[in-house]
Symmetry: C2
Subunit: 341 residues, 2 copies
């Protein structure tokens, strides 16, 4: 049996993960789901521990992991999210955040009909450095003389490996995005790693854009992008803009990967959406497509393609939750996908 | 006479600034333009100095300043842009970057017709801190062990003053944007300044969003925004996304302000666009609307309104450069605006 750790998490997490797991089950691939149901805000509020060392070891020793969503309005401090999601990314060294954005159905695009809007790109986001390390601090916090600083850190190793990964998955072009015209130290490092990698792939088209221009281009001309590689923060923002032009965050899937170890943590891009939690109205497609990424990475290529195809058909036929214009609840939207497998 | 410093700069800068100045001249308000024609990449490449201390003093002693664009592909290092644009922002303590985004004509929107797309918002970007200070460095640069860091700095004074300014210009809502769930030190400071300012304005609606969600919302539902206040980097990105949904960067205006001193440096949001420089095809509207912001800040409210109105009419009537679908060159597009004053 192939053990898959499952963290349903908070808010709509359990509802969407349920549909993802049921969909994976449909393929009878011998996946064995190990539910870490206790990893959520309730536990954190009770015990002050979000994810224990044992939990991390349990996830690390599984073949892959699936996560619903982490976040709860009752938890004010960023320590909780950091303690679960960011801890898994960092402790398991999941340095690639792979975020595809593909328009599943023409009717989902927020863009004008006369625009080239069939976006089909991937944002490869560095996932273990940048502004996400927690390094920094605050001097004289809380008063009128406070100075706060967060360190935006890039290492050669960390940058080169994610840039290389982008080249390994690109089909026609790699676009590196930074802000080297203003944020110069990290910018210089990214530029150097970028030029070295580009020189090693003379066959691949390359492009460089500043993040402001790239974000704008994602709206005005999204089909120009194939693979974008960028740092943690810019990847966070650009992948959300990409998912907006691809029809909304409800369908956006992601994989946190360590390609060398062949380990992935798969999660929808959306958050825990506490306002709609427990009502079975959340869109399960982001979670289901994340499960599809998991299948592909386990080598079940045909099944992954069938899953993507079933999702695209359900969406095109309007068999979706209300956020995509359909009449279905979360369960029925999951069933609609499974019925098309 | 009111002395206005003018830095045409690089690329399309001189062409668009010419139209802005001609438009200001139309109002016969006794403006005296002091051209700093030598502040450009040619001078920098020859002398290694982008903007001298005398130049800074000359700009500082003028009533306001107008800038075209800074940037040249021959200049590899970020030192040039830093030495002109960022130096003016920092040395003159222009801590508010005011970036309105308003859809001038329905036909310019990249969004679907059935969406609420009449965006009319302002991004208030902190302009003297964040990742733009140049603080940081690189250890073992150029090799496989390089570590680069840039400091993302926020001070209480710097944050509180820009948040306060946002409240002073908002009509219906202030939305503060940060990434406090991941970038925690600066995030905590912004949150504290934000709560203090919000408590002082119980009459004003307030909202908080994380930057990824805000960037997405700017595409899916841009009309929900009134005033956004955020840090230097997020403001850079969000204002570009806002200008994309408002019809393109060619029409986007901005003001770098020190409200206490009543000084402003006005510039179009677009860059120097070297590929189209010297061809009289650049869109002068971003520069002309920036001149309109200058007029408003000098107290010429009626003239500023007339200018905006003339621009909107020219755009609606298709009397524009090709980027907005019109047949005109830069000069004629400027004339089209002036003819409607
Ligand atoms: C040229 C660059 C440094 C600048 C910035 O990021 O501030 C520009 O993008 C802008 O927005 O004015
Ligand atoms: C919750 C937050 C810290 C997280 C991030 O910024 O990485 C989320 O936005 C994401 O993109 O996975």
């Amino acid at each position: 049996m192939t053990r898959i750790a499952v963290i349903p998490g908070d808010g709509i997490g359990p509802e969407v993960v349920e549909q993802a797991v049921l969909t994976l089950d449909e393929f009878r691939l011998g996946l064995d789901f190990d539910f870490l149901d206790h990893v959520n805000a309730d536990t954190y509020l009770r015990t002050d521990v979000a994810l224990s060392d044992e939990d991390v070891a349990r996830v690390a020793s599984s073949r892959s992991a699936l996560l619903g969503a982490i976040g709860d309005p009752r938890v004010g401090s960023p320590a909780y999210g950091r303690g679960v999601l960011l801890r898994l990314r960092f402790d398991l060294d999941l340095y690639v955040n792979y975020r595809p954005a593909k328009l599943l159905s023409d009717r989902l695009s927020p863009l004008r009909r006369d625009r080239a809007r069939a976006v089909d790109c991937v944002v490869i986001r560095e996932n273990t450095e940048g502004l996400y390390t927690g390094l920094g601090g605050s001097l004289r916090p809380g008063g009128g003389h406070e100075i706060a600083l967060d360190i935006d850190l890039s290492t050669h190793r960390g940058t080169a490996r994610v840039v290389d990964h982008a080249f390994s998955v690109a089909r026609r072009e790699v676009c590196m995005v930074d802000k080297a015209n203003a944020v110069e130290h990290g910018g210089g490092l990214w530029q150097r790693c970028w030029r070295t990698a580009a020189a090693r792939h003379p066959d691949m088209a390359t492009r460089h854009m500043y993040v402001d221009a790239a974000a704008m281009r994602m709206v005005t001309d999204p089909t120009t992008f194939d693979v974008i590689v960028t740092n943690n923060s810019y990847g966070d923002i650009l992948s959300d803009v990409a998912s907006a032009v691809a029809g909304g965050i409800g369908t956006a899937a992601s994989a946190n990967l360590n390609p060398e170890r062949g380990f992935g943590l798969y999660e929808p891009v959306h958050g825990s959406a506490p306002d709609i939690a427990g009502k079975q109205v959340a869109n399960p497609i982001g979670a289901i497509l994340s499960a599809g990424l998991l299948l592909a990475d386990l080598g079940h290529t045909a099944e992954a393609a069938a899953l993507r195809h079933a999702v695209a058909r359900a969406v095109t036929e309007g068999e979706t939750t209300p956020d995509l214009g359909g009449p279905l609840d979360t369960r029925k939207a999951g069933q609609a996908v499974r019925a098309r497998l």
